[in-house]
């Protein structure tokens, strides 16, 4: 707890120093709160992600590859935003730029009002990869605990949070199991608990359920939605499944390859506590249709 307040002080210091780039008071460092208090961060209008003119060119053996070309994107706090597009459209790259795992070759990006590097160093986001990437020599409990150890939480707080977030993802009772003793879906839930454990305001998810079968996937999508609704976090979600994107999102960002760019941003205003049944409604199909035509206009279906 001491550590977190130190971080928030540092963040404020940086903000005030960074001047005109931050005309609006955007930055959000989560206020201290009791762990059992629901974490609703709803500050209408504040931007979790604000990207302008982002381009990223990779140097490869076959020459330059333009992974992202002039991408502008604002993501409001509390939104659930999906990036959808075919392979090679730069959706993962864009997510990695937000996470400061890649540096754009042009453009500016602010996360909660600070640069992406500051946001990473101050641990503003939790990142969930396509593979659970649990450390095989650690039990589930100690895997979830790992970021807390790294961030210097004391032992009592660590134990409390591990129990709390394993419960949230329905993994209570599996604390002492090793990753290989769990199914793929359970492992991915553990990795979500791990990303939540240090209570970041922003969740970055890179096709987290892509490797799972559809039944497990539907189930986890429902759980994820419930979690988002409960915690009020901002979620950025990469997928190549149209139904998944439409079901989960408040905003769908349609992307297209060569070069990676944004074609369309579609709002999707189903109630926050939606269930899988909405997938049969005409509204759902209409939005899915619009996503599909967006993908088509970006030549995503061309060979």
């Amino acid at each position: 707890m001491i550590l977190r307040s130190a971080i928030s002080l540092r963040a404020e210091g940086r903000n005030s120093a960074s001047g005109p780039a931050l005309a609006t008071p955007l930055h959000v460092v989560e206020p201290m709160r009791a762990p059992d208090e629901p974490n609703h961060v709803t500050r209408p209008g504040a931007l979790a992600v604000s990207a302008h003119g982002i381009s990223l060119t990779f140097q490869t053996a076959d020459g330059e590859v333009e992974a992202l070309s002039n991408v502008d994107l604002d993501i409001a706090e509390g939104d659930f935003v999906s990036f959808i597009g075919p392979s090679g459209c730069g959706k993962t790259t864009l997510l990695r730029v937000i996470a400061d795992l890649e540096r754009p070759t042009a453009g500016t990006i602010l996360i909660n009002g600070v640069t992406s590097e500051q946001a990473r160093v101050q641990r503003h986001y939790g990142y969930i990869f396509q593979a659970p990437a649990l450390y095989p020599w650690r039990t589930i409990e100690r895997n979830v605990m790992l970021p807390l150890e790294i961030m210097g939480f004391d032992a009592a707080e660590r134990r409390k949070r591990v129990a709390q977030y394993l419960e949230l993802v329905n993994l209570s009772g599996f604390e002492r199991k090793y990753p290989w003793q769990l199914s793929g879906g359970m492992q991915q839930r553990a990795s979500i608990a791990r990303a939540l454990s240090f209570e970041p305001a922003l969740l970055l998810m890179d096709e987290p359920f892509g490797a799972l079968d559809e039944i497990v996937r539907d189930h986890l999508n429902e759980q994820l939605l419930r979690l988002w609704n409960q915690t009020g976090k901002t979620v950025v979600f990469v997928t190549h499944s149209i139904p998944e994107a439409v079901f989960l999102s408040t905003k769908i960002v349609v992307m297209s390859p060569r070069p990676g760019r944004i074609i369309d941003v579609i709002s999707c205003n189903f109630p926050r506590d939606r269930t899988l049944e909405i997938r049969e409604t005409p509204e759902f199909l209409k939005i899915a249709q619009r996503v599909r035509s967006g993908l088509r206009s970006g030549h995503s279906y061309d060979e």
């Binding site: 795992l101 641990r123 986001y125 939790g126 990869f129 990437a133 970021p147 790294i150 290989w180």
Partner: protein
């Protein structure tokens, strides 16, 4: 209902050990044949020199009981080995246990030195980019030097600065055994997949945290594979170090004395002792490996 023929159910112990026993028996049989063939001329010559008449049976029996045969029979080696191990108090210079311990202590010290040195080098190579390019060729070169040629120099140089006895042997042993550890641990430290490393980055972990919480645990299985190779090399290194230095004790000294006096059986008994030690050492490392793997949650 068709009556099925009763299946023959072998006892599990039989199933487990039968193949090994069969192979060992076959090898022993081949060995005896080789004993007869190799010692035949020797024994025939002895009979003919004494002008004693002999039968084929006597000839064959003679090949298996010669005092200084070209190739001793297995039972002769076992006999001498047992005599040397159990026939003398362990502090006696005639006891193989005494010689074995001399070599073993140099092996242990050499192995500890070599493994530690190997791990430190590997950590440096992984973390300091310039070292990776500059150090690795030298490490590989170091293993091309014929140790038998270098060992006397090392002994003399170390002797000149007052180091005698166990330590020079341990250093030669360490020189031979650090190499597999370097290679294995470098491989292990670089084995975490990109996602695991990216995760550390998203948590903005310090390099020390990345090392202790990710790289080192990932390297442990690789480390043990290397250690198993390394500890036998370490034993060989200790024995080799005893050869050119005129050591008075140790398995190497025993081999050397045996070859001076044509005591082939003694040489073979010393070789058996070396293999017993090697098997024991690998066994110990394997046990520790299994224990550590269990602590680290490996599948049973």
């Amino acid at each position: 209902m068709v009556a099925r023929p009763a299946e023959i159910r072998w006892h599990p112990i039989f199933v487990r050990f039968a193949p090994v026993v069969v192979i060992v028996l076959a090898l022993i049989a081949v060995w005896y044949v080789a004993t007869v063939l190799m010692n035949l001329n020797l024994v025939r010559g002895a009979f003919e020199r004494d002008d004693t008449p002999y039968t084929t049976g006597q000839l064959i029996a003679g090949t298996m009981s010669a005092e200084r045969p070209l190739l001793p029979a297995p039972h002769q080696i076992v006999q001498t080995f047992a005599d040397d191990v159990f026939g003398w108090p362990v502090t006696s210079p005639r006891s193989l246990v005494y010689h074995g311990w001399v070599t073993l202590s140099a092996t242990f010290v050499g192995f500890l030195l070599g493994a530690t040195f190997g791990i430190v080098l590997a950590v440096l190579i992984v973390h300091v980019r310039t070292l990776q390019k500059s150090l690795l060729p030298w490490i590989i070169c170091s293993q091309m030097v014929p140790i038998l040629a270098v060992a006397p120099i090392v002994i003399v140089v170390l002797g000149a600065i007052g180091l005698r006895g166990l330590l020079p042997k341990a250093i030669i042993s360490a020189y031979l055994c650090f190499f597999p550890v370097v290679i294995g641990v470098v491989k292990g430290l670089t084995s975490p997949d990109p996602i695991q490393r990216d995760l550390m980055r998203t948590w903005s972990a310090t390099p020390a945290q990345i090392f202790w919480k990710l790289r080192w645990p990932s390297a442990v299985p690789f480390l043990f594979t290397s250690l198993k190779v390394s500890i036998t090399i370490s034993l060989i290194g200790a024995i080799v170090a005893e050869l050119p230095t005129g050591a008075q004790a140790g398995i190497g000294a025993r081999l050397l004395a045996g070859s001076y006096y044509g005591q082939t059986i003694q040489i073979w008994a010393a070789l058996v002792a070396a293999s017993v030690l090697a098997v024991g050492l690998i066994g110990v490392v394997s046990l520790i490996e299994r224990w550590v793997a269990q602590l680290m949650g490996a599948r049973a």
